[in-house]
Symmetry: C2
Subunit: 429 residues, 2 copies
């Protein structure tokens, strides 16, 4: 039995995603396809255009058999944390045999080699990276420089210039996926598919081959014609969501909440949350009072050392109370549960198998999340990495994220919270 | 020299307010008129329709010589705390000789007698009030019942039925003003003016004699014609504010912030703030997730024991971090500074006198608030009730309140914070 695992955000689902899905299936010929998908907040540190339930539905109608939610604590982390969560879910689901990810370079050999270097020479590398960041480089750039220096110094049989391939976001993520597979001692095989069309971050609209960023940009400008360039299923469901007043939702909608919370915080209050280091506590505290909106906030806080994406993610941490403990424990112990958002008839078969193979609790009825945990905690093969408090803190964040997300729906009837507890798992039977 | 002190909210300024002002001046023939006015958040637990700067301007153009801001910590408390703040400011300003307040009954003698009973028989009364509240009565009703019983039991020479006069909000406030004057051992004389027209809480629109509530209600329904029924100065300034995109601002505008903050709080987190007792922590926590807006929130949380106004005020406490310590210390030690929002030419004369007479720091340039404090702390007649930490915590809340309020302006350019630090004291010279 071959089971393909993919890691996605589908924000929103476009032809590039469909291409990746089809090519991966062609490559692996799997019996089942499982997607781990970011929930209502994505790695760019913003709410998804439409909610996780609708995005899961699109995935299930496009060839995915099971959609699992990536817990918030991983979905709004940097590439490293994101990968620990996503790969951890696929690994602990217990039935995945292959992971395929998109890559600008599609150089599996190089990515694997670099991943190994970062593992074997971890300490030297960290020292070098810190040096680079002190010089004002952002983390990605500091790492690239550190890697190049290391490769030269150690005369590793790799052309230093090839390290430039880890410049693009999919390769950066790919590298982290490989590192995470190693971390979990996973037997899952990985392979790449070369990305076609626009770059991830390309905001220019290019028809069918536009990036998700470009599509979101058009939507933000109220140009809904852009939906015509999406696969039919995606287009229909997105239109249905918009017509019902459940989207589109943008980061800027969060301004009263993000600025409001920050304006009632003092500099020292920021230190309760992860990542407000190197003066970022001071900058966020000061500029949340000066900025009139979130765009201005990020522009004011921005420095060479931090990317906009990193700052956007950080801006969510006080809202969701993302503490250092929660991040460190989550990255040390990995995801604590598998929250199934939806499945097809085929997916249901696989779920029955995974129920026996999965090493962490499967949650398909969120209101029972504590019961499910207790059952596993009582069993004799309770895994060492499953911790009650971490499980609860991770899961609460997902429910919290949905409760916050709901506030931004245009239609008042959907602003009611606890949707996670009310919306049943999607069954596409 | 006679100086009249009045306690106002002017939300918004209507003919009833103008009548009260003129009648008070007629009664006292003062040399100067000083108003203590709630800042951007008023005693009903909501933002004011237009901001404190505009409301101060209206007051100065209508016969008031100096407008002082009532610190947030008092403006969003119940009648007792509100009075401790407002009367404390007038007392500590050092030059006020008379206070006149509006009253439904205008029975100064009865109000004074009842006030004295509540002071002399404080303990018995508190026991009785607690009993009534256990039976499910709201605080005002429990107090009324307790007072009646006490008056009967002690055969005090007062007709128990007369206690019914403390049913209306102005009499309730009046009672608290008298109690506060007593608390401060004040030499300020008080008197009443009978209110004309609609009751404070009357929401029905009745032309010139409408209550502020009725006017706000009409504005909430986008009926701006109601402004024609306000005094000219008030009408003009309100229109200017609306046209500039600085209003009207309603409680419901705060929904993303109030619901957002509560939805990320657990039941136990509420106990950090004052007043979430008797299950209110549980009710706010639960219903903030169920409610789609603030109206729904309050309706869901409401029980016989709590008034809507009390619940609305409470809903602001997590935002402004109103702790038990802050409330108790503020009510024990009284206001710590006098923040002047504006003055006329005459008011400037009085300010020069008050500078020498006032027992707490006068702040007319908010950015210098710490300097002003240090100067007084160093002086040898530093008052015992002036505490550095309380002073700072009180003042920070006022700045915070303005920074939050600014988020709700419609015009983005005014959403920038720190208006308290940028807008100079209003000089109507």
């Amino acid at each position: 039995m071959r089971v393909l695992g993919i890691i996605v955000e589908y924000n929103p689902f476009h032809y590039g995603h469909l291409y990746h899905l089809r090519k991966s299936i062609e490559k692996i010929s799997p019996d089942y396809v499982v997607a781990v998908m970011s929930g209502n907040f994505v790695q760019r540190g913003e709410p998804s255009i439409i909610d996780k339930f609708a995005r899961a539905e699109i995935a299930l109608k496009s060839g995915v058999d099971i959609v699992i939610e990536l817990p918030l604590i991983y979905s709004i982390q940097d590439a490293g944390g994101f990968a620990i969560g996503a790969v951890g879910i696929l690994e602990r689901f217990g039935v995945i045999t292959d992971i395929v990810f998109g890559s600008e370079s599609a150089r599996e050999d190089v990515l694997e080699k670099i991943a190994n270097i970062t593992i074997v020479y971890k300490d030297q590398l960290q020292k070098e990276i810190r040096k680079g960041m002190k010089m004002g480089l952002s983390f990605p750039n500091a790492r690239k420089m550190a890697l190049k220096n290391l490769v030269k110094k150690l005369s590793i049989s790799i052309d230093p210039s090839i390290i430039d391939i880890i410049e693009n976001s999919n390769d950066i993520l790919g590298l982290e996926y490989i590192r995470a597979l190693n971390l979990y001692n996973s037997k899952i095989k990985f392979s790449c598919i070369k990305r076609v069309g626009a770059k991830y971050s390309d905001e220019e609209f290019k028809g069918r081959f536009s990036s998700a960023s470009a599509v979101r940009k058009m939507l933000e400008l109220s140009n809904y014609k852009v939906l015509d360039h999406l696969p039919e299923i995606s287009r229909e469901i997105i239109k249905r969501e918009f017509d019902s007043g459940r989207g589109p939702i943008f980061y800027e909608n969060m301004a009263p909440l993000v600025l409001g919370i920050m304006r009632t915080m003092e500099r020292k209050d920021f230190s309760k949350f992860y990542g407000f280091v190197e003066g970022l506590d001071q900058r966020f505290s000061k500029f949340s009072r000066q900025a009139a909106n979130l765009k201005e906030l990020l522009e004011l806080v921005k420095s060479k050392r931090f990317t906009f994406t990193k700052l956007r993610r950080l801006s969510l941490y006080p809202i969701f109370k993302i503490t250092e403990w929660l991040i460190k424990e989550s990255n040390r112990l990995g995801p604590q549960y598998i929250r199934v958002l939806g499945f097809t008839t085929k997916g249901r078969e696989l779920l029955a198998i995974a129920k026996k193979k999965s090493s962490i609790p499967l949650i398909s009825t969120p209101s029972l999340y504590e019961k499910v945990l207790l059952k596993v905690l009582k069993s004799k093969d309770k895994p060492v990495f499953l911790k009650k408090d971490l499980y609860i803190e991770q899961f609460k964040r997902d429910v919290m994220a949905t409760n916050i997300y709901s506030l931004f729906y245009k239609n008042p009837r959907y602003k009611k919270g606890e949707r996670d507890m009310r919306i049943p798992v999607i069954q596409m039977l």
